[in-house]
């Protein structure tokens, strides 16, 4: 029996039209270091049409890739809209990739054009000669004259291109499963892997961001997207903002705690999203420079686990609830969100909020145990998290129009997340480790994340990373690398004492080291591979207690 529903396609051209007409007066606000520049969504719509015409003029056809090498700003939002809506594919280049990775992804995606912010021209210029498919570089927010182009590459001014282009564009009708945008994941091993989002996946993900069990984004919001637009599509906020009609505040390159505090004071956003290190930095800044930030109805934290101490500091000192969320580039990224059941209150609600959260209806999850069996959702059984859903990757881009269902990462149509954890019967996920970071001591698993959170709750500690190190008796034991706060002072024995009533006795670490900083990946996560390397090479000064 045939459904009588219309057969229309979910498409970003519709999103562009909707957001820039019905919500013509909503704004994208870009911080310039001392003040804001403002642009209405109506203007963004006209400029996106000009950009599409300009890109067509540079030879962009079909689903060709257009790279962006940009901060979060109004021009990057225009690229987010124009490129997929015209049928091309937006490739957000991560400016923090190591040089050889950056060259790899531009060539692997076969970017034809790259849009670059003026402030990032020097960073791009060094690698540009090796980007073999790039024919045009378009410089936004800066002087195109500063870029000396390799042979065969033309350099353009973004504003001049737009000024010369017509301000309407005949957006094509597209299949909703066609490619809209791509983002490479930057693991610590091997080449980066490309995830290709479809118009459908982005549309559905945007709806989720606006749902009550998502980020609840609404027309009443002004969203400060600190998480970079080159990092998992800024968690989907730019597209969701156009869908809801929410205004956006963009920090551009001003990501230090001081400028973030200034942006908060100037624009009073109602919600903001960033990784824990950004929020930790802001908290430290606010301790020294108090400021009312209660205009934030919610702060979303993801990318790494949010330390409970940080969540309490926001709520108790600044009256701002922290929403803990889990996701990854391969999940668009919204996976789970830690909104406690309405019936939970007090400590019970907090216990829910510490978790990575609950999966919405569109995301299905399972835990796979050591020997491949599915583990129960009992809040205790631990396994590797696998997920399924309409905005979850089922393969990587292999180049040349193909996909790569890497069996290390995909399993019977499920994404293997590489995260290890447990799920309660009511669907709340607690991650205990990355699969590769699990510490197995005497046959039992010790959660490195759990130990890190407890150590970071100590007032003298700024950061702590825990790795497993070889042990003759127990196979592996935890080693804690501690970064002290400025002026902080504490001994390993004191820290061990501090943990005594928080973790089981056999989990208490004997091995401690103080470091100036925890090595980070290009997206700011703890790089435990480098920490393990430093330990293996005997470069860490270890105290045994």
């Amino acid at each position: 029996m045939l459904s009588t529903m219309q057969d229309g396609q979910l498409s970003l051209a519709h999103l562009l039209r909707h957001g820039t007409s019905v919500h013509a007066d909503s704004e994208v606000v870009t911080w310039t270091g001392s003040e804001s520049r403002r642009r209405s969504y109506a203007e963004v719509g006209t400029r996106a049409a000009r950009l599409a015409n300009a890109l067509r003029g540079l030879g962009v056809t079909g689903d060709q890739r257009v790279g962006t090498f940009m901060w979060n700003n109004a021009e990057h939002l225009e690229a987010y809209l124009a490129i997929p809506a015209m049928g091309a594919v937006l490739h957000t280049l991560n400016i923090r990739l190591f040089p050889e990775q950056l060259v790899f992804v531009a060539n692997h995606a076969a970017d034809h054009v790259v849009l670059v912010d003026g402030s990032l021209v020097p960073l791009l210029a060094k690698q540009l000669p090796q980007m073999s498919t790039v024919r045009h570089v378009v410089v936004a927010n800066g002087d195109a004259g500063t870029l000396e182009a390799p042979d065969g590459v033309q350099v353009h001014s973004y504003e001049e291109l737009l000024a010369a282009a017509p301000d309407t564009f005949e957006w094509p009708e597209l299949d909703e499963r066609s490619a809209a945008a791509m983002c490479y994941t930057s693991g610590t091993t091997g080449d980066p892997k490309g995830v290709v989002y479809s118009h459908r996946s982005i549309w559905l993900h945007s709806m989720q961001v606006c749902m009550s069990d998502g980020m609840r984004l609404s027309e009443a919001d002004t969203s400060l997207a600190i998480v970079p637009m080159f990092h998992a599509m800024s968690w989907g906020l730019p597209y969701a903002a156009l869908m809801a009609g929410a205004s956006m505040v963009m920090p551009d390159r001003f990501l230090q705690p001081g400028p973030i505090a200034e942006i908060l004071a100037a624009e009073k956003p109602t919600m903001a999203a960033a990784v824990p290190t950004i929020w930790q930095g802001l908290l430290q800044h606010l301790e020294a420079n108090p400021q009312d930030i209660s205009h934030l109805r919610e702060v979303v934290v993801g990318g790494s686990a949010a330390p409970p101490s940080m969540m309490h500091a926001f709520e108790e000192n600044y009256d701002v609830p922290v929403l803990h969320a889990w996701g990854m580039t391969e999940t668009s990224p919204l996976g789970s969100v830690a909104r406690p059941p309405a019936a939970a209150a007090g400590d019970e609600a907090w216990a829910y909020r510490y978790t990575q959260g609950r999966f919405p209806a569109s995301v299905r999850a399972r835990l796979i145990g050591d020997s491949g069996e599915e583990m129960p959702w009992d809040g205790e059984s631990v396994g590797e998290l696998e997920v399924q859903g309409p905005w979850i990757a089922g393969a990587y881009y292999s180049g040349q129009e193909g996909v790569d269902p890497d069996p290390e990462k995909f399993h019977d149509g499920w994404l293997r997340t590489g995260d290890v954890g447990k799920i309660t019967s009511d669907g709340f996920l607690t991650l205990t480790d990355r699969a590769k970071d699990v510490i197995k001591s005497g046959g039992e698993w010790i959660s490195s994340v759990d130990l890190e959170n407890h150590v970071m709750a100590h007032p003298a500690v700024a950061e702590a990373a825990v790795i497993g190190v070889p042990d003759e008796k127990w196979d592996e034991r935890p080693l804690v690398a501690v970064v002290l706060r400025e002026g902080g002072s504490v001994t390993p024995a004191e820290l061990r004492e501090f943990l005594a009533d928080k973790v089981a006795k056999w989990q208490l670490p004997e091995n401690w080291t103080f470091v100036d900083e925890v090595p980070k990946t290009s997206v700011g996560k703890f790089d435990k591979k480098r920490l393990r390397g430093a330990h293996a090479e005997g470069k860490l000064d270890i105290t045994h207690v």
Copy 2:
């Protein structure tokens, strides 16, 4: 270039699994006339599996249709879940259809099984002999023994069937565009027309109900769905509740103002949805029997235009905001929702709230003028509303596996709504009339809905319906049919005076009649066709002022 997103299907089997596991403790509460009976979503899930097994046992295969002839109750919710999830098609039979229409739709849909509430057995029994494809009738909430079945029809007890069936079911994987449920529209002319919803359309619509620019349904809600489950799928609330984990309160057959007030007092729902006549009745009841209903965070009104006076009464007397919404069976039904922009306050916000609302990103709209041209969104130009989107019908079910793109109702892939109105530049729709109810006086349109709202704002008036009647000089002039409140008294001259500062002078009606009630369609809307008929036959006693 291929997207690397998973190719999974949106399917109600996933919705069933999600809602009944992760939200196992949420409840469906059914009113029994004096108290509530409660069932957890976990139990609903088990019983839905039993129901699917039982229906399989009655020979339901493939996408065969299973009719329901039921009130809003827990068993109807089980049918909502089990029937589509097993791959069959849920056909909600409107118990208020005229007998010949009821027979028509059951035969047209070729229902194989009908589930019926015990209290509705007498109503069904009369038409059952003419329902030629029905082989099984299953009686829920009552005694199966009371039904004398025609030859070839077997009668079963719902509870006995469930008790005998296994409590797990292997839900099939289905194409998301396959048929899930169907509902016939009951116009005042011609045979009812079947709308067939797909798994995809129901999934997307459920997301919209939970979105910030939808009904904002969340896990914290207890939803009182007064709008019948046989009327436009109870506005999508049952499926959305399972998606969000919201509990549901079901009024069963107790739809009079007194029982609704009792249900509100007993279950304190946080939101409720119904047509204006239900809410008008409740307001009158509450005037005489005051009761705190401020547990309602919002009351959703649709199906007909909400009179502003009613919206103010709810908000000012009971602290309950009314959300005005527009939709129809063909739109699943969520079309537009009148949430004012956050920047609007006071009278400006009220002006937005009186409208039929703004279309979400997934629903596209246009206005078509008298000569087929597209009208601008300027808040003044009037045309027939046409809509497009993934949960909007593109045809009717023609029987025999076909679809009927009736050119009277569908136009280049758009649904012609039959509603006439205007849209502001920021996307807010104001309906002025049904296309067939438009009054054209001296070449100018007079909105019957607008006049009705103004007359109904008079304290002595309970209801008012306006139709166009022939006029020698002006072609047509408005005739107002007034139903007085109990104890209310007012003359036509006084009503005309009351309107004097509210509408243009040339719109002031000269023709008035007092009636005991406005004739209604089977779904409770003003039946202006019958009113026009009564006028044509000279049955109305008209006063000219």
